[in-house]
Symmetry: C2
Subunit: 237 residues, 2 copies
């Protein structure tokens, strides 16, 4: 369709075609990191999407992340949890509710989108994926799904108790994120971060707790499509 298209590769170069598909595919994080490095200098770039979290150390403009997803999982550069689609049962094996510690159901009953909608951290418009039960993207629907995590309906738990479960999911995700940020910034000697993605609020929560300064990468709107914005800017440079 576009005969003059340029293809960004994870080697940081533009290519006339996508024949070397391993270089071209999944290069999003590389583009974001290279551009963020040019704008913000040496930083830990944290991009939290609907499903996953990328943490990319950038020094001297060069992204220092592993080359495969497995390598990145091992180094703490990829956390397979995001702001919308993550099954709360993978974040919470037990929850404290009504003064007891209840094991959670291992089904796909509620997701991070439900927790953050109920906690007022995202809007219904931000909740762009399907709900696990096909129900509505509103506070009551989210509460009903979260209650099911401990096999309850909304007659069995108060609104406050459901909020408490959502808060524990947030706590679990931010704690894990904080551990990864502390490890990577220590390892690479990085003292600042740049944050993007629709789940950027989670990165900011963790960074504030760590006392680590950060910049927003792009405006709030740009931040959600940061890899595309980064590629366009890199091509112009």
């Amino acid at each position: 369709v576009f005969p003059d298209a340029a293809f960004y590769g994870s080697d940081g170069q533009f290519h006339p075609d996508a024949r070397d598909y391993r270089l071209i595919s999944a290069a999003n994080w590389s583009a974001s990191a290279r551009y963020a490095g040019r704008v913000h200098g040496d930083i830990l770039l944290i991009d939290i999407g609907s499903t996953t979290t990328d943490l990319i150390p950038v020094k001297g403009g060069i992204p220092g992340a592993g080359t495969t997803d497995f390598e990145r999982l091992c180094r703490g550069e990829l956390i397979y949890a995001g702001a919308l689609r993550t099954n709360l049962a993978t974040l919470l094996r037990t929850v404290e509710v009504k003064g007891c510690s209840a094991r959670t159901s291992s089904e796909l009953f509620a997701i991070t989108g439900d927790a953050y909608l109920l906690l007022g951290r995202i809007t219904a418009g931000d909740y762009t994926c399907d709900t696990p039960d096909g129900g509505p993207k509103d506070a009551e629907g989210a509460a009903r799904r979260i209650a099911r995590l401990v096999c309850c309906d909304l007659e069995e738990l108060s609104a406050e108790e459901v909020l408490g479960i959502a808060a524990q999911a947030h706590r679990s995700q931010v704690d894990d994120l904080g551990r990864a940020i502390a490890r990577l910034s220590g390892k690479h000697g990085l003292s600042r971060a740049a944050v993007c993605g629709l789940g950027g609020f989670l990165a900011k929560d963790a960074l504030l707790e760590l006392g680590m300064p950060f910049a927003q990468a792009g405006s709030e709107a740009i931040s959600r499509v940061y890899p595309a914005y980064a590629v366009a800017n890199l091509l112009e440079m």
Copy 2:
């Protein structure tokens, strides 16, 4: 269809109809426990199915379990994990592989059926639910799904490494089961267990580690349909 049908209720009585549906529905564990109590005396009955685990203290022939799923989750009488359908990501937040600790993917990539098939604890015939990827119920299919838990394909992990992940899922499930058994047997002063369900092997693993004696409830085949067998026997008594 059966005008003379009798309906077992969780009150331990047979009823001429199912009008009081709260009493009749989800009474499986009650029937199993009452019958096992008659056969085995005071015991902790452990029934592990495809999806969940019921732990029911039985004393003097009376099941002493909570009345709602939430109550049972709080008391450790219901563990929402079973021998087939449980997402491995809910059992393992990280796995040790290739000398590193890798966070797992939170998707539904692999289930306990995959782990126990690969470990030789169940047969392909026992694997009666769907596979997460629609792939085959054989060792290679199971290994492929388990490798995806750390975003790998089978070129990236050796057979031994995949087995190691399966073993960690088993370890996690048996440890959790052991904690619940120890807590409930202590609380109710029960020194013996009875085991049933297709996941009975997991209960036996935990009981052997705890040094707690146990009986198999029914033959291996009967054990898998123990609630039905129990109701039939209770009606005869």
